[in-house]
Structure formats: structure tokens, C-alpha cells
């Protein structure tokens, strides 16, 4: 008889998102609890045998008691076993977060995999072999003990770990907390449920990172999913169902502007983001050059989009305002004002001038002020 598990990881509960303006931070904090509730509902709906959370349930081992209790409440939607593994953000330190969780007397179905010993679940049809982290950075491969771990015959063996699979991660992965890439083979695992990498990826045979179910950064590595893994029996290949569960989607948009006309393209890109827009957290990186009039229009446009999206952060470090003759004529064609903006333009164009960037800002400003004062004209 097959065993079905829901594999998830990296919930990062307690992450504050206070670097966002206004109430965005609060909304993003709240979203993580909502996602956990959706996972519980999904587990119930799909009748999974257990939910395995492969580390970093919490973003820090020092979360408030309120956060702890809030999470226990969110887990209430699934009455089957929840196996919570301590990760590098919430390592199993003595009198730490897991002791506090245990002391708060949570429901019996919440199991803390804080010890390196097999957990037999689902009437001993499922043996979970955990490799809990007891500190943030571990040099040794804590999953090594699985190789010699004995489990009852006929039991499905599932490894549960948090760290970096050696020599496999697509990008520069964190060096600490290594996990051997052939651990599933060596330890005769039917499935290895991993956490730490925030995107969903099969990293080795029968070895998956579930990724964070609720994205927390602008990284295009397929976050926002959980995996429903069906294990038909010892030795049988796992069947994986990737299910999106995230509340918000984080986007990173890089856009190049060459002239004012390109603003239409940018508008189209933003307009092309799937609805609902208030669930989009956008990081916009702009580069190229733009006239002062264009910059002014860009300001207006982005201000509009800022209202529509959950969050919009624009990075214009690589976008250079390039005043055109029309820009400058628009401010004044003669007199000392024109002489002043010409002087600023010369400085802005002089790469040796340490104030070149400030001069560019000053030009933008004078353009904007001019338009403000012009707007006042009867």
C-alpha cells in the first residue's frame, strides 16, 4: 500500500519584511501563515499520510511566543502527522525554539525531528530518517548515519534533511551543512526530502528540494510550491506532484530604456503581470538612458503602478537621465536659468566631475520643479 507525503520546507515564519514601505511588511508576514493554512488544507484534501517540513520552519530561533502559538494554530487544518525538522535558521539548540515548542504542549500530531533517530509513522509503513541541525553551520554531513540505520522490513525509507547537496546546486550554494549527492542511494532511501534551497528542484535521483511555499525574495528559481510525493513501496520510484500554494508572487523585472518611447514597453510589461496585481511583489531594475521628460513620465507611471501592486521597488542606479535639447529648452531658452542648466549639463556630462551624478539629479529636479511651476501658470 502506497504512502503519500507532502514535502515542504523553508517556511521562514517570523521573517518581518520591514524593509518594505507601509503595510506591505505586515501583509507579507501574514501571508506566510495563510500559506501554511493552505498547505494544511491541501494535505487534508489530498489525504496525505504525513507532512514533512525539511527545516527552516522559523526564520530565527528567537521568535516570540505569539508567533509560535500562531503557527500551531495554522497547523490545525491537518490532523495527520506534521514532522518538523530543525534547519539552519532554527537549529535544535538546547532550551531553543524546539524545546519551547515542545514545552507549549502542542497537539500530538506535531512531531519534532530534533534527534538523529528513525521516526516510524503510518503504522510503521513509513520510516523518516531525520538529520536535524543543532547549530547554524555544520561542517559534517549529518545524514551519514542513515547509511547504517536499520528500519523494519517493508518500510518506506524517507530521508529528511536541510542543507546543500554537494556539487549539485545550480548556483553558488551555501557551503555549510553538506549532504552527499548520492545519499539516497547509499542510505537505500525511497525519497530524500530536502530544504534550504528556496526553489523547487530535483537535485539527484529521488532527491528533491520542495522550495519555500511562500516566496521571500526576488529569485526566479520556481518557489511557491509544495510536493505531494507518492511512494508505492520500498524500491519503487516516487511519484511527484508539484502544487503551487503561494499567496504572493515575487517578480524581478529588468528593463532597458533607450528613449521615452520605451516607457510604453515598460507599461506593457507591468500590465502583463498576471492578476491579481495586489499579490505581486515587483523589483524593477531599469537601465539605459532617458530624457528628463521621460524620467518625469516614468515617475508618474511608476507611482501609478505602486498603488496597484502589493509592492514595487525600482532600482534606477543604471538608468541615466539624459537631458535633451527639448528638455532644456522646455525649462528656459535664455537668461540665467538657461545658463545654469547648461552649466549643470556640462557637469553631468563630465565623467571626471565628482558631482556629475548630483548634477544629473539637479537637472531632473529643475525639470520637475519647472513643470510644477509651469503647471501653476494660469
Amino acid at each position: 500500500m502506497a504512502v503519500t507525503i507532502l514535502h515542504t520546507a523553508d517556511w521562514q515564519i517570523g521573517k518581518p519584511f520591514n524593509d518594505f514601505e507601509g503595510d506591505t511588511g505586515a501583509a507579507l508576514r501574514e501571508a506566510r501563515f495563510e500559506t501554511v493554512k493552505r498547505i494544511a488544507a491541501l494535505a487534508t484534501e489530498r489525504k496525505v499520510d504525513a507532512v514533512l517540513v525539511a527545516g527552516d520552519v522559523f526564520d530565527t530561533p528567537a521568535v516570540k511566543d505569539a508567533t509560535l502559538h500562531r503557527l500551531i494554530g495554522a497547523l490545525g487544518g491537518f490532523t495527520g502527522p506534521w514532522v518538523l525538522l530543525p534547519g539552519n535558521h532554527d537549529a535544535a539548540q538546547p532550551a531553543g525554539i524546539w524545546d519551547r515548542l515542545a514545552q507549549s504542549k502542542p497537539p500530538a500530531n506535531i512531531k519534532i525531528a530534533a534527534n538523529a533517530e528513525p521516526l516510524l509513522l503510518v503504522g510503521e509503513r513509513l520510516a523518516v530518517l531525520p538529520a536535524p541541525l543543532t547549530r547554524r553551520h555544520e561542517v559534517a554531513d549529518l545524514s551519514e548515519w542513515w547509511d547504517g540505520a536499520q528500519t523494519p522490513p517493508g518500510t518506506v525509507r524517507v530521508g529528511l534533511a536541510h542543507g546543500s547537496v554537494t556539487e549539485r546546486l545550480p548556483e553558488a550554494a551555501e557551503a555549510p551543512n553538506p549532504i552527499a549527492h548520492d545519499r539516497a542511494d547509499r542510505a537505500r532511501l525511497d525519497y530524500l526530502a530536502l530544504g534550504d534551497w528556496h526553489g523547487t528542484i530535483e537535485i539527484a535521483p529521488r532527491t528533491w528540494y520542495a522550495g519555500t511555499p511562500e516566496p521571500d525574495r526576488h529569485k526566479e528559481n520556481d518557489p511557491g510550491n509544495v510536493l505531494i510525493v507518492t511512494l508505492d513501496g520500498p524500491g519503487a520510484p516516487p511519484r511527484i506532484d508539484r502544487v503551487p500554494v503561494s499567496g504572493h508572487t515575487w517578480h524581478r523585472i529588468e528593463h532597458r530604456l533607450a528613449d521615452e518611447a520605451d516607457l510604453a514597453g515598460l507599461e506593457a510589461v507591468l500590465g502583463g503581470l498576471p492578476a491579481p496585481h495586489d499579490k505581486r511583489v515587483v523589483s524593477l531594475i531599469l537601465e539605459g538612458t532617458i530624457s528628463l521628460a521621460g524620467w518625469h513620465r516614468l515617475d508618474t507611471m511608476l507611482e501609478r503602478w505602486r498603488g496597484r501592486l502589493r509592492a514595487l521597488r525600482d532600482d534606477r542606479a543604471a538608468l541615466r537621465p539624459e537631458p535633451t535639447a527639448d528638455d532644456l529648452d522646455g525649462i528656459d531658452q535664455q537668461g540665467f536659468v538657461r545658463e545654469a542648466i547648461d552649466a549643470l549639463k556640462r557637469r553631468a556630462d563630465d565623467p571626471a566631475d565628482p558631482e556629475a551624478a548630483t548634477a544629473r539629479d539637479a537637472l531632473r529636479l529643475v525639470y520637475s520643479l519647472h513643470h510644477g511651476t509651469e503647471a501653476d501658470r494660469p
Binding site: K15, A95, A362
Partner: protein
Amino acid sequence: MKISRIDIRNFRKLRQPVTLNGLDGGITVIAGDNEDGKSTIVKAVQAAFFDRHSLMGEKLDDMQPYGAAGAAPKVDVAFTFEGKPCKLAKSFRPQASATLDAGGKSLENDAVEERLREMLRFTPPGKGAAKADNRGMWSLFWVEQGTAFDPLQLNDDARKTLDETLQSQVGKVLGGKRGTKLLAAVEERHGKHFTAQGRERGQAKTLRDQAETLAGKISAARAELKRFEDQSESLARIEARIAARTRANDEAKYADAVKIARVKLTEIETLRRRVEKAAYDLKNARNVADNAKLRWDQRHEKAKAVAAMRHQIAEAETIAEAARNEFVATEKRHNDAVALENQAEAELKTAERTVTGARAAVERGRLATRLSETKAKLTRAEAAAAAMTGAKAEASAVGIDDETWKRLDSAARRAEKARLQFEGAAAAIVFQPEKTQRVRRDGSPVPAGTLIVLTGTALFALDGFGAVEVRPGGGEDVAELRKAHEKAVQTLAKELAKINATDLDDAARRHARWQELTRIAADQGAKLDGIAPDGIELLRAAVAQDEARLVAIGGETGDPDMLDAALAEAETAYERRQSAVAAARKNRGKVEDALREAGNARVKAETSLGERRGAEDRAVREIEADRTLADDATLDRILVETGREADAAAARLDTEHAALNRADPEAAYLALENAESALNRIKEDARKDEDARIGLQSELRALGAQGLGEQVMQFEGEQSRLSAALAAAEREAKAIRLLRDTLNAKQKEARENFTGPVRERIRPYLKLLFPETEIGIDDESFAIAHLHRAGEPEKFEALSLGTREQIAVLVRLAFAEYIADHGEPPVVILDDALVNADPGRMQRMLLALRKASQKVQIIVLTCNEADYAPLGAPVIRLAESQGGAGAA
């Protein structure tokens, strides 16, 4: 503009019509004495152009001629404007009207005013007469008397005219309204970021303050989190130690080690007790052997001592014999010395008796002589004493000594005084009748011719006359005086009675006798004192004493010199005997000392001998008593046997010691100590770790529950947001500052360019008057700010009146020329504007006027016509222009 003719009627002091005709397009001089109305002409022209014809009130009153209130002031001016002839006629109330013919177009009243405003570009006042501020640029060029030296003040219209004129020259440098508005917006934005002093404020400051506050919070929260993490690590280490200890089972290991060490120590204790027993035995055996040795030694010592004593006794006997012999010899010497002494003493006594006899003979002689002298003195003394005693006795019999006499004399004087007072006060009456008339007193007849002394009131009956009452004393109390007199007489009588004197003379005689006898007694007393100063009795006693002494000495009296020689010889012999006795005594003393010493030596030697004999006897008895207990051979044997037993006990102790050393007690003790320490340490460590674990667990749970990690991350997120906002604010502040600075710099530059042409125009005029001089004009107000002479700035206000006046006129001419070059030339009217110029400066100023007149019309009003004669300009004399006939 050029004015060609001016007609004035009923204007202030100009009651007669004045016509100034034929004004030249260049310079015209209007000359007139003071009070002729030159200034009134200026005011009339100003009224024509700038005051409304409908003007009312005080200002209108001012215009009307003195004493002709109802007359209507009227001013007509003919001029050209933009090359076209114009004629302005303005009449004020009560016949208010205005007409203007300009360029073939005629206007009336308000239209005239409106047109004038356009032409001359001025802003009229809301009501009332126009003031300098309302005359536009014309106030600059029409200089009223006494104001030429004031700093140039440009009103708004004048500046506007100048601005516009200048702008047409240098372009739209000031940016117009747009520039002004933009600059205001920039200033406003700059003001949001910086204070007037350039200090940061506004958003950047607020954000920075917030960031600083937050940094403090983060630092505190991080420190707390670090404490949490450190404690967490500490707890992990402690738990690891506890686990390691449990695994190693160290406590049990060290408990076993302690047990083994203790068994070993029990065995060692047994060995140690055996050693102690052997040591005790050895000690006893050594004591016994030591005692045997002691007895043996004592026996031998005593025997040796007896032998030594006997030797000493023999020596002592020799010494005692010698002492005895010495004593006998000394004793004999002593007896001899005593005999010699006794003999000397007997001889001394004989000599002493001889001296005593000689001394008695000498004394007898001296005594007999002295007795004879004393007896003679006594005889003289007794005679004097008898004479003195006789005189004293007689004086005493006389009985009136000095004191008594003094008392008597005093009483007599008092009686005399009282008598005189009484008699002085009494009346003495003697009746001398002519015939036989009788006189009676108290019925008794008073004999005629008899002195009657009255001391009280008496009534005398006189025959044929009546009675006469006599009151003596004139008021004095004669009776009292009489009483006093009688009392004094009685007192005197009593005193005389006391001494049995018959009267005072008798008393006086006796007193004289007393004095004589007293003097005789004194003389004899003095004589007696001279003979026997110590009294006559002492003399008598001395005689008796010497007589008794002589009887006592007895013998015959010899020759005193012989007696003295015999005495001296006897005394010399006596002294020799005394010396002999002393020498004998001294010798005897010495021999006595020697005898005493010899006696002492003999006793000492005999005592010593006795003591030695006694000691030897006791020692011999003691040895003999010891030997009865154990003889010398027995003591020898015991000494050998006990020594042997002690050696055996020492060998046994060595054996036991070796056994104990082999067991190594120190190592066993150290091993136990180590094992116990290790066990205690392990227990203590375990206890401490357990305590620390419990404490840390509790603390960590409490710290963890505070959500420190969440808090730090929240703060950090906020910090990141604040940093970004701050960077943006700072960036904008930097940009606005650069923008403002650039705009201001450019505006300043433009203004400098802007006023440059004016300065250029002024320079040639200044050069005419003040070579090497530059003028500073304020860019904003166009006012003269300062003068640069030889590179040094001088404030305009600080210059002399004349210099200020001249510079102000030059600047006006330059402005006028400048405006003429770029538009309608203005008319310059100077009313006594150069009254403070010296002849030299005046000549230079005339050159300046000539230069300006090439471009603008100049009308000079002056009371010093001659000053302007070098100009060669047309002159209109005011006196000749009144009555409407004035002409150049």
C-alpha cells in the same frame, strides 16, 4: 522728449504769467535770483505731467498762488515726443481741465492723464499729488533744489524703465517671470532641506535622527540576541560535557581508585605502628645504657675529685702557716708604735701646761690696767648723774612745764578776748546833772558822775525829764557775752588753782624756772651719755667683773713684755710636741692596718684549709657509701651489658623502617589525595554544570519567548528602508543645493552683466571729474553704493557734500544718456544742483553737461548765471519772462 516752451499761470508764487519760450534742445540756462520762483517752475512742470487736473485738497491749495485762493493754476507745456510735437495744457481747480495734442491727436481730461502715464511710464498715486515715487524715471532726472547730493533712489517705475532698457541691450538675462518663479520654487525646496544658515533640516534630518535612534535599538537588540546566542552555545557546551561525563563514567572510576588507595594506606599504618614500637624499645634500651654509663662516669669522676682535693689541702696548709707567721711579726711592730705614741702625748701635755701658765700671767697684767681706767670713768659718770637728777627733781617741784603753760596761756587769751567782746558791747553811762536833778534806776538813785556800765536794758528816771531807756550793744546779746566772759575768767582761775598759782604772772615766773632746770638736766644727761653710753650700771658691773677676775687669777703682776716673750716660747714648744704626737699616731695607724690585713689573711687561709678538709672528707664518705651498693667492677660489667642491648634494639628499628619505606607511604597518600580530588572535582563539576544548565534553560526560554530574533530582523528591515529613504533624501538635498547654488551664481553673473553697460556709460563722466575712479552700483537698486579711488572703496555717504552732489549729477546724466541711446531721450532738469562745486570742479561739470547735452535736453535753473556762462548756452532770465513775454 524735448521741451520747447512752458507757460505758467497762477502757480504758487508765480502769480504773474511766466512764459519760458525757445528752450534749446541742448542746454538752456534759466537764471533768476533767489525767491524769483525757479523751484516753482520745476514744480509746475511736474504738476503738469504727473498731477491729475482734478486734484483737490491740500495739494491743490499748495499750487494756488498766495493770497489768490480762487485762481486756477494753469501750466502749458509744448514738447516733442518720439519726434512728434505735442502740446499739453493743464488747468487745476476751480477750472480743472486737461488737453493734449499729440501726433495730430487731441485728448481731453482723463484721457490726457492716461496718455501721459503711457508716454512717461509712471504710476500715479491713488489720490493726492504725485510724489517722487510716482514720477517714474523722471524723478531721477528732474532734480529739485537741495536734493542733488542725496544718494540715487530709483523708484519701481524708474528701475523698470532702466531694466527694460537694459534688457533690450543685453538680452533676456534675468529669465523673466519664469526664472523668478523657478528660483522661488528652488528656494522653497531648498528651504525644506536646509535652514537659512545652511544646516540640514527636513526629511533628511528626520530620517537621520530616526536612523540613529533605530541604530541604538538595533545595537541593544543585537547585544541581547548575542547574549541569547552565547548562552545557547554555553548550554550546548554544558550539555555536551554532562553527556561526555555520563558516557565516560568517570565518577565510578575515581571512587574505585579512592577505595584501593585507602586499603593500601591501612597496611602502611600497621607498618608504621611497628616502626613506632621498635623506636620505643630502642629508646628504652638507650636510656638504660645511658644510666649505666652515667653511674660509671660519676664513680670515676668522684675518685678523681678526692685525689685532687688532697693535693689542694697540702697547698692550703702551706699558705696558712705563712699567714700565721706574718701576723705575729706585724703584731710586734704594732706594740712598738703604740709605745712611741704614748711617749709623745705625755710630752705634749707638759708643753700645754707651760703655755697655760704663761697665758695667765699675761692676762693678769692686762686686767689690772683696764680696771684702773674703768673705775675713773665710773666716778665721772656718777657725778653727772647726780647733777641731772637734782635738776629734774627741782623742775618737777616748780610744776609748770611747757604743756601746762601752754594751756594757761590759752585760757588767759580766751578770757581776754571774751572781756574785750563784752566790754565792746556794753554801754557806759555817766550822768552829769546841771543841777541836782536826780536819776533813778529801778527806783534806786544813780549817783551823778559815776560810770555805769550797762549790759542790759535799763530804765533811768530823770527828774524833770522823765525816763530814759538805755539798750546797750546795739542789738548784740550783751548778756551772752558777759556769760562767755565770766566763763572764760572762771576757766582761767581753775587752771591757775590747779598749779597753785596766785595769778598768771606767778605762773609765768614759775614756768621760766622750769625751763632753766630742764635745760640743766639735759646738759648733765648728755655728759653722762658721753662717759657711759651703755649706762652707768654697766660700768659698775665691768669694775666688779674685772676685780673678781683678778682675784681668780691670783699671783703677782709682772713685766708685760717679759710675760709676752715667755708665752711665745711656750707656744712654739707646744706646737713641736703636737707634730711629734701626730707623726707617732700616723705610724701607729699604718702598723694597725698591716696587722689587720695579716689577721685577715691568717683567718682566710685557715678557713680555706678547713673547708677543703671538710669537702675531702665528705667525698670520701660518699664514694665509700656508693661502693657498698655496687663496687667498681660491678659498674664496669653493667656498662658493657646495657650497651649491647641498645645496639640490638637499633637493629630491630632499622628492619621495621625498611619495611615501611618499601611500602612507600607518600606515594600511597598522594594517590589517595589525587583520587579524592579527582572524585570531588568531578562531582563539583557535575553539580555546577547541572546548576548552570537549569539556570540557562530557564533564562533561554524566557529570552527566546521575547522574539529577539524577530525584533532584530524587524529593526534591520526598517533600517534598510530608512537607509534607502535617507540616501534618496540626501541625494535630493545635494541636488537641490547644487541647483540653487548654480542658479544663484548664474543670476549674479547675469546681473553683473546687466549693470555693466550702465557702469560703462558712467565711467567717461567720472573720468571727466575724477580720473582713476570707479563707481559701485548696487545690482538690485541701481543706487550708488560706493566709490573706488586708488583701489580703496569709499562709502557714498562718507564723501563730501560737493563730491556727492557732483557724482549724483554725473550718474543721472549717464543714465539719461543710456536711456536716450535705447529709446526716448529724457529731459534733465537741474535746479541749483551744483551749488557746492568749487570753480575747478564747476568747470569740469560744465564739460559733463556739454557731453550729455549731445544726447538729452538739459534745463539748468540757477541763481548764479555766471557759473554757466562758459557753456555758451541760451539763458532765459526769469525776471524778464514774467508777464508772459519771456524769451531766450
